[in-house]
């Protein structure tokens, strides 16, 4: 087994174990038949209803679920990359949630308040979101590098500051949409259509430009991290600050860059949510997307390719989860699977130890153990 595969094994086994545990949980609370049916529905909801399509259904029964999965996956890819990039620099960014809130807000403001032709408006909104997310993350970076404040604590605090200020003040106060026609609306004003991420398949599916965009970003992060000198220096700084400093790498600068990039990626995730599906900053962001990013990054072993794969997988489960509801199974099941998978991945060393023992036993079966 090559080294690259070996490092992926704990993640794969963890996800499988999480799937099994959750299957048992459904089987215990409902029954075995429902559990099997629920997983099947989750799969159909995630990758398309193939049986119906093969029975002569229209292409929509495939495109609709796949579009939903892609939309969820785009968010997970971006937040996952955000956490992974910081991790590679030796920083634990728990603040993807707050950075995403700021990014989403910036995208919503630019999308609604600025009027430009579409080829300029959309990129400007994306840029604004990335900058807002980066600036929010740089507060934590500055506190760490200048004052030695641990980023785990500062980003947790910054999350709550962002949520309190944006969700409980700006969005319900100064930036609240002006109600039209008597009924009040929650969230900020509706975006101008020029800032929307365009739909790729028209009315058949909600698949929008955000998904390919996320894939391109993942590719760019991979190139930066693995193929450029800066990326190498960042990784070196993350693996051991002392050694990197001795080798002449400006460790603090690389850490700050990585944190800024991390925030920018989380900000972009906010933009994709707002410009692709919500079309305004909603009353509240709705889900702990930033925390999902932590799970995705760690299950993906903090590698851009691993993050993308794990985001695609959980994007499919997320989209499929809504279909499980038809059977009366709770739709947060994919989140439970994700959380358990992260818990099992946290025991990465256990998996590796099990593998090693196995390998040793296979390699030298006759040697008696002391």
């Amino acid at each position: 087994m090559s080294e690259r595969w070996r490092s992926a094994v704990p993640s794969i086994l963890s996800v499988l174990l999480a799937l099994v545990v959750c299957w048992i949980a459904i089987a215990l609370t409902r029954d075995v038949k429902v559990a099997g049916e629920a997983y099947l529905q989750m799969l159909f909801g995630g990758i398309g209803q193939w049986p119906r399509y093969l029975d002569g259904g229209d292409v929509g029964v495939l495109a609709r679920p796949l579009g939903e999965s892609a939309g969820k996956a785009a968010l997970l890819i971006l937040t996952g990359l955000s956490v992974a990039v910081a991790f590679k620099a030796g920083l634990f960014n728990i603040g993807a949630q707050g950075q995403m809130v700021l990014g989403a807000l910036a995208a919503a403001v630019v999308g609604a308040q600025v009027s430009l032709p579409a080829p300029l408006h959309l990129p400007l909104a994306l840029l604004a979101a990335a900058v807002a997310g980066a600036l929010w993350a740089l507060i934590a970076a500055a506190l760490k590098l200048l004052r030695g404040v641990h980023e785990v604590i500062s980003t947790i605090m910054l999350n709550w500051v962002a949520v309190s200020l944006v969700d409980n003040w700006l969005v319900v106060g100064p930036l609240r949409a002006v109600s039209t026609g008597g009924h009040s609306v929650s969230g900020t004003a509706e975006l101008l259509p020029t800032s929307h991420l365009p739909r790729l398949l028209g009315d058949i599916s909600r698949l929008h430009l955000g998904f390919p965009l996320a894939l391109v970003v993942a590719l760019a992060v991979w190139v930066w991290l693995i193929r450029t000198r800066r990326g190498f220096e960042t990784r070196a700084a993350g693996m051991g600050a002392e050694a990197a400093r001795a080798a002449g790498i400006p460790v603090k600068q690389r850490a700050a860059e990585a944190m800024g990039l991390s925030g920018a990626l989380a900000g972009l995730a906010g933009a994709v949510l707002v410009l692709g599906t919500e079309f305004r900053y909603p009353g509240a962001l709705g889900a702990p997307y930033g925390f999902d990013g932590i799970a995705i990054a760690l299950i993906g072993n903090n590698h851009p390719v691993g993050v993308t794969l794990s985001a695609l997988f959980f994007g499919i489960l997320r989209a499929g989860g809504t279909r499980m509801q038809l059977l009366g199974v709770h739709k947060t099941f994919p989140e439970l699977i994700q959380g358990l998978a992260l818990l099992f991945v946290a025991g990465r060393l256990i998996w590796l130890a099990l593998l090693k023992r196995r390998k040793a036993a296979v390699a030298s079966p006759e040697v008696p153990r002391a």
Binding site: R147, M157, V161, N168, F291, H330, T332, G339, G347
Partner: protein, 309 residues
């Protein structure tokens, strides 16, 4: 005016215990060198199990169940971070995610998506003399656990600084190798701290469902665990500091709610969201001023390996 102050004091004392217990749980674990970002998840487990248990048994016993649930979740954290030297922040976050999603699932599977049925609240103690004195009256009519939360930080402080056990606990968070040199078990001490911390955090959650809310709700504890972490950091990892910070946050919260109901015009000037953000902003500012390294335990977050130095 006096009545307003009395009401403020009363609701502070109502909200503070959950925060105090959870913050103390964080302090106990982290002073022994094990990062505990799973406070939120442990509180959720404690709150849920206490609420469920209270449907079948007397509420005080249910509180104990909540503590055990917190310890059970903490033992997962301990197993991963002490036995297997996993990244403690990862394991803590995983616990938070599992408790969040698992709690929602169990709630839905056993009851309704919104919450458990109402449960018997913990009995409230009417303090004999104080009960009739204006202002001081606010101290009366709280559950016994509220009074415990006022005493416990001082007991914790005394244990930490006056006993051999306390010295060992502090040492294992600062310099585990020194503790090992004395022939003491680093893992054993850390296990004790993690389990004890889990029980305290679970107790914090149990107070929420058995005394504050009278049931377990969908989003319990709704970020209070992270607030407890903030209190721990704000209080510089000391029991008394964490206690003070938790009371301060609880007072701030009571003030915010009190203002919103009695003087809504103030919220026109100072927005609600700004007041919500204030404790976290304060924590950040304080951290920026003091520089954190001075007060966090030196070995916090580093797994102990016998062979390493």
């Amino acid at each position: 005016m006096l009545e307003l102050l009395e009401a403020l004091l009363f609701s502070t004392l109502d909200a503070a215990p959950a925060l105090i217990f959870a913050a103390l749980g964080g302090v106990l674990s982290e002073r022994a060198g094990v990062v505990n970002v799973g406070v939120e998840g442990q509180m959720r487990a404690g709150a849920f199990c206490a609420a469920v248990a209270a449907l079948a048994m007397p509420t005080p016993l249910a509180v104990v169940m909540g503590m055990l649930a917190g310890a059970a979740l903490a033992s997962v954290h301990g197993y991963l971070s002490i036995r297997w030297r996993s990244d403690q922040v990862v394991s803590g976050m995983a616990i938070n995610l599992v408790a969040l999603a698992g709690g929602t699932f169990l709630l839905e599977a056993l009851f309704s998506p919104n919450g458990t049925p109402p449960i018997d609240q913990l009995p409230r103690w009417e303090l004999p003399l104080i009960h009739h004195v204006p202002l001081l009256r606010a101290l009366s009519d709280h559950p016994g656990l509220a009074y415990l939360s006022l005493v416990l930080p001082f007991a914790f402080h005394a244990v930490l600084h006056q006993t051999a056990l306390g010295l060992r606990l502090r040492a294992v968070g600062e310099k585990p190798h020194a503790v090992a040199t004395l022939g003491l078990s680093v893992a054993g001490l850390r296990w004790g701290a993690v389990l004890g911390g889990g029980m305290l955090t679970g107790l914090g959650g149990a107070v929420l469902s058995t005394a504050v809310l009278d049931r377990f709700e969908q989003h319990t504890p709704a970020g209070l665990g992270f607030m407890a972490l903030a209190a721990m950091v704000f209080g510089r990892w000391t029991p008394l500091g964490a206690f003070g910070a938790a009371c301060f946050f609880a007072f701030g919260n009571a003030l915010r709610i009190g203002l919103a109901s009695s003087a809504p015009e103030i919220l026109e000037v100072v927005p609600q969201g700004f007041l919500l953000a204030l404790p976290y902003l304060l924590t950040l500012v304080l951290l920026a001023i003091q520089g954190q390294r001075s007060s966090a335990p030196a070995a916090l977050g580093t797994p102990y390996e016998q062979e390493s130095r």
